[in-house]
Symmetry: C2
Subunit: 433 residues, 2 copies
Amino acid sequence: MKKINIGLVGFGTVGVGLLKILRERKSLIKEKTGFEFVVKRVCDKDFITRRPVKLDRYIKTKNVNDIINDPEIDVVVELIGGINPAKDIIINSLSKKKHVVTANKALLAQEGKDIFKAARHYKRNIYFEASVGAGIPIIKTLRESIIANKVEGIFGVINGTSNFVLTRMSELGCSFNNALLDAKKKGFAERNPSLDIEGIDSAHKLLILVYLAFGKLFKLEDIYIEGISKISLSDIKFAEEMNLVIKLLAIAKKEGKALDVRVHPTMVPKENMLSSVNGIFNAVYINTDMMGDLLLYGQGAGQLSAASGVASDLIDLARDLQSSSNTFSEKLFLRKPELEKLVKIADIQSKYYIRFMAIDKPGVLARIAGVLGKFGISISSVTQKGRRRAKIVPIIMLTHESKEKNLRLALEKIYKLAVIRDYPVAIRIEKEL
Amino acid sequence: MKKINIGLVGFGTVGVGLLKILRERKSLIKEKTGFEFVVKRVCDKDFITRRPVKLDRYIKTKNVNDIINDPEIDVVVELIGGINPAKDIIINSLSKKKHVVTANKALLAQEGKDIFKAARHYKRNIYFEASVGAGIPIIKTLRESIIANKVEGIFGVINGTSNFVLTRMSELGCSFNNALLDAKKKGFAERNPSLDIEGIDSAHKLLILVYLAFGKLFKLEDIYIEGISKISLSDIKFAEEMNLVIKLLAIAKKEGKALDVRVHPTMVPKENMLSSVNGIFNAVYINTDMMGDLLLYGQGAGQLSAASGVASDLIDLARDLQSSSNTFSEKLFLRKPELEKLVKIADIQSKYYIRFMAIDKPGVLARIAGVLGKFGISISSVTQKGRRRAKIVPIIMLTHESKEKNLRLALEKIYKLAVIRDYPVAIRIEKEL
């Protein structure tokens, strides 16, 4: 029986899940792959916190070099997250001719260039299924299944925390803050949830998907990112009345010879399946030129889902280890960028939902519409919510497709009108869905 | 540059699509896989019908042995469908040490045993992504991505023709016959659509999925199959009022130590994503023990979607050809059956929608309910549709979970009541969705 020796770095939630799976499914994996997976060393700085799986004492180490320098270890599974020291650990492991499995989306998105370069240089493979959508086979599908297709667009609900919060607001009719508290109580949000709530985590994942689909690893600072913290219950409710659902959407689509890549709250029509992705579930919608639309949906987070993604990477490794070239699967995503330029957010064209808080008196609508018209923004529908003469009421407008730059200028102007309270809320409506 | 020589058997819709893809994406595939794919021979009995791709004369042959006996051909792509002569072609190709790619679900479902045995015997691989859901990576996901998971259940909308017909009836409010005519006009139904409409095609695909998920290839005659030809518009409409959608569902789920495998029209709650799979789209919902629910959705038919599935198989072959063992990917689905026994349809437990056509007069409900009660079937809701004293009206009942055998006996009895017209219509409501 051939063996694959694993060095596990990071004995947290996912690491424990991986050990559980490898133990419980030992014979199944052996039978299917012909390999025995052996966890030879586990590194963590803390072995005092109790975990539901037991480790032999001689397996544990607090020194990651015990793994990196162990010539018998074939693959290093990095599950500590964050940039440092994860980056050094991965690059040093590759330099010692070890393959690497990681779930670290922040690292791949921000430092992927160096990491993929090191993998090529040392002729070792790097696997990262669990970095996007945990066990949902998104990476594998992009790398292997649809590679004779060209991707036209990607639309993803890829952050479980934000999606849980938005779903909760919609289902219970509660505020953003209460929904977030609820998410924390249930363990679906971290103590400091800003990476998730502000769209950064979605952006990290999107950059990885864009790299696989279009061949270029863009930088976080080059793309537009807007989180969900300003979404109010009233906008969710007004959207529902128009058969629209607000999702934190990660978007990447071709616009001529450039790519439009962004993360922001987006209104999705109820007919589109992405609108039904609720709670902590994730989904990625891929539009391809040959086979049309594809949707992958599942648990985008959670111990055993993430660990299943890592396990599928290990099984891929087993397959590649039988290969003469060792780097076949790596080639599947290394190619010349198809598109290198990004569309600036000011230049995008979108439909918009806009909520104005305005004094209920004759002539208000005309003034708002007048400004919008001056900036070339045409309105497809207007609804005033409620009737409270001389008091503040919400006015909801949907626009036809308009240029973002013009919309922003118009809103700026409208905000200055005496009849308007609060800065107008604008939420993009995705036309491709 | 390494080359893979392809012998294509069947120059129909999908064959033409494959040639298109291999030509248009030649350099992309080369760059990603390191292999050049060359279509060395194409076999068909008809080269007179014009196709949108041109073939050099010396490539064409009407004799399949020109492919099977060509020692330079590495892989035979079988796209003629049907049992004979496809089975012989595949087994002879394997015996000549060629790998095989096929999209032939009927053949794999019915003769898979012999075919997989031959592949093992001759140590060659067989790939069949396009046999279920065309280019949707369902086979790959079951074989590679979730193999450390145990599958608990599979629920699939996997026949585009039936789904188009049901969607059409619901959207246009037309009869089954008109919807089917429409499907034929649009090219979504064959002239003789009975394989699709009567559930046989779904059953073929389901048997393949069950083989991959549970390790045993069951026989068509061992499972319960019911098509959609008896579905009436009124049942679709009544279901909609209760937030249920009728789908032709392929179901396989564990019930204790047995497997419950069946194909029939099923009511799916609107909250479940399968209810939103419309028109010719396909989706497979996989419930796993470690990573929960997974849904794969996309174009389950169509020239370029099916050809994309075949292309992804060829790319898998390229990967495996670099392997020392040659049969690694085959191992991924060959294991001892997890479950060998099937649940009989009479023994299943389900909730039911029942429509009775009964005379509108006092006491009718009591008589129906009385019979149901005697057979241990309890009712969760009753609605009489319309009020036409002493005329025939539909009565809709939903039951709690009941044994199918008892339901059938009860319906038999109720049908004999003088107040009842027509045989009662019963449609299962899937409790797991």
